[in-house]
């Protein structure tokens, strides 16, 4: 087990954003978190990254409480890929990916060959070697997302957190990123934890899925168990249409726009 959340609770004032959340993630697992807006997905993510402090409960990483890790040590365990790249000061792709090496640097040493090699590997894995000297501002949204993933890979983490990594991409670029994540997982066996609004993506690309609603866990199970109308209704409070994909036979869902809240 690489990560364990126990009775994890977070609140702002009197408002509970997460309430007694329990789950475990095994090493090498592909784990997704789904739920409607305001369900607490991002809050849960920030608690795992230790960007927020829980009101109660705990997160343990490799059996050890998250709070016992130094920030740098945590950076060697967990890397984070945001939804999109914020405005950057015209760094080149390589300069940006190199920043992922920070948790491996000591205050009195400069960039070593090992760091350069890790950057090369990350660029190669994301197929961004040819873009190494390009200014980030000249890249498309999909390419920028690959650079963010490359920087996270350069951290050489054990756990890769992805916060809706395809939220602002067109369907074809989304597919490119999904395939890239598959490749990364098959080559590195890295544990992936992805927050997504795309139920089909959650079911197709993950081993287990956690469903959140109003800050509570309402589902934890396999893709097959997720793709049931009552389960999805319980997570989202809305009805879905389910059908089989004509090519691969997987269940796929569409929101049932005609139906109201359950």
């Amino acid at each position: 087990m690489i990560l364990e959340a126990k009775a994890l609770t977070y609140a702002v004032g009197d408002k509970l954003l997460l309430d007694q959340v329990d789950f475990q993630i095994q090493a090498g697992e592909r784990f997704a978190i789904v739920g409607p807006n305001g369900a607490g997905k991002t809050t849960l993510f920030k608690l795992i990254c230790r960007l927020l402090k829980p009101r109660a409960g705990s997160v343990r990483l490799d059996q050890k409480p998250l709070a016992e890790y130094s920030r740098k040590a945590l950076g060697r365990w967990i890397a984070y890929v945001p939804q999109a790249m914020a405005r950057q000061d015209h760094f080149t792709v390589r300069e940006f990916v190199l920043m992922g090496r920070y948790p491996h640097l000591s205050p009195f040493t400069s960039i070593s060959r090992k760091d350069d090699a890790a950057v090369d590997r990350a660029l190669e894995l994301t197929r961004m070697q040819d873009f190494a000297l390009r200014d980030l501002g000249t890249l498309s949204g999909g390419e920028q997302q690959k650079v963010l993933i490359a920087a996270a890979l350069a951290q050489e983490p054990r756990l890769l957190l992805l916060d809706e990594p395809t939220a602002f991409l067109d369907p074809f670029q989304q597919e490119q990123i999904h395939q890239l994540l598959e490749t990364i997982h098959s080559q590195t066996r890295m544990t992936l934890l992805e927050v997504t609004h795309d139920v089909n993506r959650a079911a197709l690309g993950h081993d287990r899925i956690l469903g959140l609603r109003d800050g509570r866990v309402v589902f934890l199970g396999t893709p097959e168990a997720l793709m049931q109308a009552p389960v999805l209704e319980n997570i989202y409070g809305k009805r879905f249409l389910l059908a089989r994909h004509p090519d691969n036979g997987h269940m796929i869902v569409l929101p049932d726009a005609g139906k109201g809240k359950t």
């Binding site: 960007l51 040590a73 950076g75 405005r87 992922g100 000297l133 951290q155 957190l161």
Partner: protein, 326 residues
């Protein structure tokens, strides 16, 4: 890439050239043989007692303000941030104005009263801002920035009040100090400012990679293993030490901290591991050159160097921006 490397290598050479040439230039031009040939000559005295310390004071002030500007722009991810955004300069100015207004003439541990008061003013402003930001939300950039602007305006109003309450002579002294200037005589003033400025400088120089990370956003930096509150406190302390020291020495010299980092970025790109060195040399060249111009334009009278930096810096900065867009 090659152009950037060329710029990076040429900046120290240009600085060295300015160090070798500028002390000879002034209302009275000096020749090397006059200075070095007869150590007792008036030229040698002018060179060693007035010109060289003044050039060195300009170099220290220029380098430090440029480096501080670079650090705060990265920290706040705001291209308009300057070393004075944090209210340090206003604090230092209030301290110095208060000292002038009282008419005291004291010296503590070799520090002149004016230096001491301006340093204390800068420290008070910083402590207030740190305290507020720390208590409110663990040093959030927005809180620091807004608190800095607010305290800056508040202190500036107090300075105006002091000027209003002062007699004409004191009011004029305050006004003159606020314009910034490098009228040092000998090395004492320079040596007083040097230790604390160097401590701040070393702190910032050791955090080039961290400034890169911070310029990509705080959340992403934390996720990459950067202890953001700790590093932010360190960098701001470094900026506070540097700005407090040089404002005590030269007053609030305008524009250097805003302009030099931008020029360095245009020449060398965004990597702060290179930029920290580049702004040191650029700032240390630009301010003494402005000071020489300030001494020459109305010679034998002198213009406050702050006027020259703003007059030169403003149009130059606009030209650079326009050129970049086209």
């Amino acid at each position: 890439m090659k152009t950037r490397t060329l710029w990076f290598l040429s900046l120290p050479l240009v600085w060295l050239l300015s160090l070798l040439v500028l002390p000879f230039i002034g209302a009275e031009m000096l020749r090397p043989h006059e200075v070095f040939g007869d150590p007792g000559s008036s030229s040698a005295t002018l060179f060693w007692v007035l010109r060289l310390p003044r050039v060195l004071a300009g170099m220290l002030t220029g380098a430090v303000l440029a480096l501080a500007g670079l650090a705060v722009q990265a920290l706040f991810r705001n291209p308009l941030a300057t070393p004075f955004t944090l209210g340090t300069a206003s604090g230092a100015s209030l301290g110095a104005s208060l000292y002038i207004w009282t008419g005291w003439s004291v010296s503590v541990l070799g520090l002149s009263g004016q230096t001491l008061f301006s340093f204390l003013g800068a420290a008070a402003a910083l402590l207030f801002i740190y305290g507020l930001a720390w208590l409110k939300d663990n040093m959030a950039a927005e809180t620091l920035l807004l608190a800095g602007v607010a305290i800056g305006i508040f202190f500036s109003s107090l300075i105006l009040l002091l000027q209003y309450l002062s007699d004409q002579a004191h009011s004029l002294r305050i006004l003159r100090w606020l314009m910034g200037g490098l009228e040092v005589v000998g090395y004492r003033d320079l040596l007083q400012s040097l230790p604390l400025a160097l401590v701040g400088l070393v702190i910032i120089m050791f955090h080039g990679f961290e400034l890169n990370l911070l310029s990509t956003g705080e959340e992403l930096s934390q996720a990459r293993g950067l202890d953001v509150p700790r590093v932010k406190l360190l960098i701001l302390s470094g900026v506070g030490l540097m700005v407090g020291s040089v404002v005590a020495l030269a007053g609030p010299v305008a524009f250097i901290g805003l302009m030099v980092p931008h020029v360095a970025r245009l020449l060398l790109g965004p990597d702060h591991r290179r930029l920290t060195w580049a702004v040191l040399f650029l700032g240390a060249t630009f301010l003494p050159v402005c000071d020489v111009l300030a001494r020459l334009i109305l010679a034998p009278a002198e213009l406050p160097v702050g006027i020259i930096t703003a007059l030169l810096g403003g149009p130059f900065f606009i030209w650079v921006l326009t050129r970049k867009k086209t």
